[in-house]
């Protein structure tokens, strides 16, 4: 018995799980909705355990490149999946939902903060330039600069105090009141306390697109495809909508 426990400790595995584990690499902005989707999926398939590995899309890509065993990748952008597909690590990705970037303003900050006077915010937090949430924000600022001018852009950049590695960390800084404003997904901040959201002109910036793909070396490719079909099926679309995502047209 003791030897068994030791072996379990050494390989970090457990002998208790009965069925196959479907492992899904999940962009941090999809954390909550995928947790709901996972419980729905597991309830229709007794014995299947869904395991979510949640991190920024760029971190998930690194984990995949270094051989983490997984079945599905769900990234918060098209680029991450496309690059991994080009390198033969995942199959061609399917967009399954779109999101929305908003201006998240701390309740403690002066009210009346919007995109036009974003340069008056004392502390702005954005996603890192390599994270999807940061790339969307940069593109939006570039778009907005054509409207508000290059001085506005420079003033906004001067107020950026941090570029966080994923959407959740961006939102946390606003929720804690440490920063005044951030460009982040509407779905990430909708349930967090201490945050007011200001919607942005739809014409500005790119629309965040969520993509999922089967991992080429997936241990359970059948289950991986069943998962993706479930996400884009009626029940999955309902869950996505409940969490504020716009499901892609079937």
């Amino acid at each position: 018995m003791r030897r068994l426990v030791l072996a379990g400790l050494l390989c970090g595995c457990s002998a208790t799980s009965s069925g196959p584990d479907l492992r899904i690499l999940t962009a941090s902005s999809l954390g909550e909705v995928f947790a709901s989707l996972a419980s729905v999926f597991a309830s229709t398939r007794p014995g299947v355990d869904v395991e979510l590995v949640t991190a920024g899309s760029q971190t998930l890509a690194v984990q995949l490149r270094y051989g983490i065993e997984a079945d599905v990748l769900a990234s918060a952008d098209v680029e991450t999946t496309t690059r991994l597909a080009a390198d033969g690590l995942v199959e061609r990705g399917t967009p399954f939902a779109t999101g929305q970037l908003v201006l998240a303003v701390s309740e403690q900050a002066a009210s009346g903060l919007g995109l036009a006077n974003l340069d008056t915010a004392r502390r702005i937090v954005l996603g890192a330039p390599d994270a999807p949430v940061g790339r969307y924000a940069d593109a939006l600022l570039t778009d907005a600069a054509s409207r508000f001018g290059p001085d506005w852009r420079r003033a906004v950049e001067a107020r950026v105090v941090s570029r966080e590695p994923d959407a959740r960390k961006v939102a946390a800084k606003i929720s804690l009141g440490e920063a005044d404003a951030a460009l982040v997904y509407a779905t990430t901040v909708q349930d967090l306390p201490g945050i007011q959201t200001v919607s942005l002109p739809a014409a500005l910036g790119p629309t965040p697109v969520y993509v999922q793909a089967t991992v080429v070396a997936a241990p359970h490719p059948e289950l991986a495809r069943a998962w993706q079909a479930a996400v884009t099926g009626p029940a999955g679309r309902r869950v996505l909508r409940e969490h504020g995502f716009a499901p892609a047209a079937p």
Partner: protein, 261 residues
């Protein structure tokens, strides 16, 4: 070789292999050209420079405040000592990201001391001072714990002899206690400094990630992981090289200083 010796060599060798393998793998997987590119990279340079500056400041503060604390604790006994030592050890146990949250809860704008600091015009989060504070939090325990055990070897009678020979208390401490404890102090300082250099989680949470201001080398490496894996790997090797160089330097300084006496 006796049986015990062989057994301990085998066990010790196994641990050495486990400790060294990941580092060796990292170094072996890095081409010299990538290393040169990393050394020439402006972003890596800025991050390395910031790392060196902040860790030297945090080390100086840890030595300046940690040494008296460790001395005091080495001379005290009983409950107060155990309570203080446990408090000092706590940050070692806590995950760095949790330490970062704790720092925000304390020194952040919405934290316990937030209003007070705000009234004084001090804003710690997202500042270089926040980087130093995070480094102190993770590095100081290692130094103080090592220093307490080093000072515990100092014989009170020796100090007394120095006093009877006419030395003032501070001078007696400086010329008797400090040299006796020096090897332990230097080892602890090296460990604290190395831990500060590698600090990541608390820094990211409390100080954020902005190139030139709060992006230390570990944060820069994390940021470049997906954009440029070769650069990230080469910068990691650079971090390892800097750490090895400084640790060896400090150890040489320690033994040299002791021999010179």
């Amino acid at each position: 070789m006796s049986r015990t010796n062989r057994a301990s060599a085998a066990a010790g060798g196994m641990l050495l292999v486990v400790l060294a393998l990941p580092i060796l793998g990292l170094v072996a997987g890095t081409r010299p050209a990538d290393l040169l590119a990393a050394i020439g990279d402006a972003g890596v340079q800025a991050a390395l420079w910031l790392s060196l500056q902040t860790t030297l400041v945090s080390l100086a503060l840890v030595l300046a405040f940690g040494t008296p604390l460790a001395w005091m604790l080495s001379r005290s006994r009983g409950t107060r000592r155990s309570v203080a030592l446990t408090l000092i050890e706590l940050p070692v146990v806590m995950p760095p990201a949790v330490l970062g949250v704790a720092l925000l809860q304390t020194f952040g704008r919405g934290g316990t001391l937030g209003p007070l600091l705000g009234a004084l015009g001090i804003a710690l989060p997202f500042s270089t001072a926040a980087v130093v504070l995070a480094q102190i939090l993770v590095g100081a325990p290692l130094y103080v714990i090592a220093a307490v055990s080093a000072f515990s070897t100092v014989d009170d009678d020796l100090l007394l002899v120095a006093r009877t020979l006419g030395a003032q208390p501070v001078r007696a401490w400086w010329s008797v206690a400090l040299p006796t404890a020096a090897p332990g102090l230097i080892g602890g300082a090296a460990l604290a400094w190395a831990r500060a250099l590698g600090e990541f989680g608390a820094t990211l949470m409390f100080a954020g990630n902005l190139p030139g201001h709060t992006q230390t080398l570990p944060l820069a490496i994390y940021a470049s992981l997906e954009r440029d894996m070769d650069l990230a790997r080469a910068a990691s090797v650079l971090l390892v090289a800097v750490a090895v160089g400084l640790l060896l330097g400090v150890r040489a300084l320690g033994t040299g200083g002791i021999r010179a006496r």
